[in-house]
């Protein structure tokens, strides 16, 4: 840790870890309900466990993004954060928002609008937090007078995240119109601006971990951003299938979401190229595992499995089945969970006392158990979904009868889910095992990799 204010990242990460653990509890609970009967039918029905599961994901992933940014920006800007106090106020507000929303869901207090269930007061706090965050980051960069491409892409991603949240605050009389704008927030977050954030994290990590040339990395970052937006913006169309919008969204969705893997291939190639050029030279090989793993798993989960059911002729049959759950789990995990765990693994040796730079054995167990578990879960959803599509959609078997026929896949889901949760548990335990180090120390300086210094002049804006 070179800058004292970077230590705020630790608390953002700590909050993320706590919420990640809680998300697992509600995920496993939801999975067991697929087997049924449900003894908690009137205490904690599926709709409640599911909404908490997805909302916790959003809250902790965003908290980790913010933490990662607070870690990254001082180092890129070579100065302390504008205000540490604001960063803590923002974190406290964020936690209060998340916790009250979750407690509200237990009592069915929410808007019931998929993925945007947060009640209006919570939504306003989200806006406030984003405002504080952008102000703080923006001021830090402004004061430093040094603005790298990685930062620029990151900042643009974060600003767009905030702007795209605005449609979620509005009320629509027409259900179809409300669906139309829901995806402005959710899709353009997930497949647009979050991708930018992920790309800039990845570029940052690869520059640090592999010592890759910044000029080359950032050039590719632009290409990736271009590909993300070419495919991502018009790819929103794949959420407009069969919901009552004009028909031209169908071929558009097919065409542009078929292009989405291009950006993901770009990221994977970038990661592979960086590793090839410089080898696994950086001592923090665990963080490198997560970073490269993220690029590869995103390509698999978001790219390949998304492509599998994105063409309208196929989607006509698979739409609204467990095939979507297959894609959703693998994509989110690869793109957003793994990149955050990469960032955390990278920052952690500097943020805690006594942790070996190369990662612990437990850290590696966490990596491989999670990977194996999530791969198994993806296969469980896939096999269940294929069965469901065939029996229910093609053969015309009733929904409830078809669900009974695919029970064995739900058993597989619970088994592999348990493996995954074990991996998550190990990661969280490993996180909290070493006490935080909140002072600057010189020994981390020499462990941080060398960085080419040629680019600074040109990167300045």
């Amino acid at each position: 840790m070179r800058y004292k204010s970077q230590s705020v990242a630790y608390w953002y990460f700590a909050v993320s870890m706590g919420l990640f653990g809680l998300q697992m509890v509600f995920g496993l609970l939801s999975a067991t309900k697929y087997l049924g009967p449900d003894p908690l039918l009137y205490v904690l029905p599926f709709d409640v466990t599911k909404v908490i599961h997805t909302n916790l994901l959003i809250v902790w992933v965003l908290a980790a993004f913010m933490g990662g940014t607070y870690w990254l920006v001082p180092e890129e800007s070579r100065r302390e954060l504008h205000s540490v106090k604001l960063a803590y106020i923002q974190l406290i507000l964020w936690v209060l928002m998340g916790v009250t929303a979750i407690i509200g869901y237990l009592f069915r207090y929410g808007t019931g609008n998929k993925l945007l269930e947060q009640p209006l007061p919570q939504k306003l706090v989200i806006v406030l937090c984003m405002g504080i965050f952008l102000y703080n980051i923006g001021m830090t960069i402004k004061k430093s007078g040094r603005f790298t491409t990685t930062e620029g892409v990151l900042l643009l991603g974060l600003v767009s995240s905030a702007v795209l949240f605005i449609p979620a605050l509005l009320h629509y009389e027409n259900y179809t119109v409300s669906i139309f704008y829901r995806w402005w927030t959710i899709h353009l977050w997930v497949e647009g601006v979050w991708m930018m954030i992920m790309g800039s994290f990845l570029a940052y990590l690869l520059i640090r971990l592999s010592g890759a040339d910044r000029e080359v990395m950032e050039k590719w970052l632009y290409v990736i951003v271009a590909l993300v937006f070419i495919a991502g913006i018009l790819g929103t169309a794949h959420h407009y299938y069969w919901v009552g919008v004009p028909t031209y969204w169908l071929p558009l969705g097919g065409l542009f979401s078929a292009l989405e893997p291009a950006a993901l291939v770009g990221m994977a190639v970038l990661a592979y190229g960086a590793i090839r050029r410089s080898g696994m030279a950086h001592p923090n090989a665990l963080a490198l595992h997560w970073a490269v793993g993220s690029a590869v798993f995103t390509l698999f989960g978001a790219g390949l499995l998304g492509l599998a059911h994105t063409w309208p002729g196929i989607n006509k049959w698979t739409h609204g089945t467990l095939i979507t759950a297959m894609h959703g789990h693998a994509a989110f995990y690869g793109a957003y969970v793994m990149i955050n765990l990469a960032m955390i693994s990278y920052a952690l040796p500097a943020l805690t006392r006594g942790r070996p730079e190369g990662g612990t054995t437990m850290g590696y167990w966490a990596f491989w158990l999670q990977l194996a578990g999530m791969f198994g879960m993806t296969l469980s959803f896939a096999t269940a979904g294929i069965g469901q599509v065939y029996l229910e959609r093609v053969m015309g078997m009733g929904y409830l009868d078809a669900q009974l026929k695919i029970q064995v896949h739900f058993l597989m889901l619970i088994a592999t889910g348990t493996i995954f949760v074990t991996g998550v548990g190990l990661f969280i335990y490993d996180f909290f095992r070493f006490p935080p180090r909140l002072m600057i120390s010189d020994d981390t300086e020499q462990l941080s990799p060398r960085e080419p210094v040629t680019d600074d002049a040109r990167s300045q804006v």
Binding site: G36, P37, K50, V223, I233, Y241, G244, G398
Partner: protein
């Protein structure tokens, strides 16, 4: 390409994509009123939508295939189930399905009658939105296709709750539809357009009303209930056109029901069948 060129590429392609997207959004707004029958969005439809949100329905069910995958899609439900059935169902789902058999059950939601009413009106609005003809074939909540294993006792069809004598007559009728000997559902589907050995029961009420008004009807019934009762006890009184349904003026449907079913059971079947759309 150098870094500057890639930056221009990124900015230009993003701007073009965003511009196209915005133009199409404007055009979609031009078309929404017609595609979604916006003039039929009454305060009741809006209230029904609020009910749909208030009870968090979308985190189990799907609408337009969007939502969670734990419970059936409801996009076209009002075309499969009549208002009377849906109302009785919403009052207490456990009268219709058994958690021990399906391993899942919808919790009773305790909606007010007004909420139930408006929710159904909202769902009927959804069913009529022009959504490119999805789903390509009807998504059924349940049918007996799954249960017909060789040697199985068809009288204990588990696709519905083992209802008790005090249950809703429509629920009793649905049970009977699947369990009478021979079972009705062996030949009659309740899905639109799914013709098995007999005509589909979907659209029965509307078709019968047209038939009774048309003058082509030769039986003795005066109303829809009477027609359905007559079809059960004396299937040949009126023949539905089609060489797969009858020959030489005699229906292929069994004539054993007046003996095998009690008068009360026939009432239940009539109550159930008149509740289908």
């Amino acid at each position: 390409m150098n870094k500057r060129q890639t930056r221009i590429f990124a900015i230009a392609s993003t701007a073009i994509s965003a511009l196209v997207f915005l133009i199409l959004t404007v055009d979609s707004h031009r078309q929404f009123p017609e595609l979604t029958n916006a003039e039929t969005i009454t305060p009741q439809v809006t209230h029904g939508k609020d009910v749909w949100h208030k009870y968090n329905c979308i985190n189990c069910h799907t609408l337009f295939g969007e939502g969670a995958y734990y419970a059936p899609d409801l996009t076209k439900i009002t075309q499969h189930r009549g208002e009377a059935y849906l109302k009785a169902y919403m009052r207490d789902p456990s009268n219709f399905y058994d958690e021990e058999i399906h391993r899942r059950l919808m919790p009773k939601q305790d909606l007010s009658e007004e909420e139930i009413n408006d929710l159904i009106i909202f769902l009927d609005w959804v069913a009529n939105v022009d959504n490119q003809g999805w789903p390509p074939r009807p998504i059924l909540v349940t049918n007996s296709l799954a249960q017909h294993t060789p040697g199985a006792d068809v009288t204990t069809d588990p696709s519905v709750t083992p209802v008790e004598s005090g249950s809703d007559p429509r629920a009793l009728g649905e049970k009977l539809f699947n369990s009478a000997v021979p079972s009705c559902n062996a030949c009659h589907s309740t899905a639109p357009g799914v013709t098995m050995a007999g005509p589909s029961m979907a659209g029965l009420v509307g078709r019968t009303e047209e038939l009774l008004a048309s003058g082509d009807y030769g039986g003795e019934a005066a109303d829809v209930e009477g027609y359905i009762r007559e079809s059960i006890v004396s299937p040949s009184a009126h023949l539905v056109p089609g060489s797969m349904f009858s020959a030489d003026g005699v229906s292929f449907m069994p004539t054993t029901y007046p003996e095998s079913l009690t008068e009360e059971q026939i009432d239940h079947l009539v109550a159930y069948l008149t509740s289908l759309r």
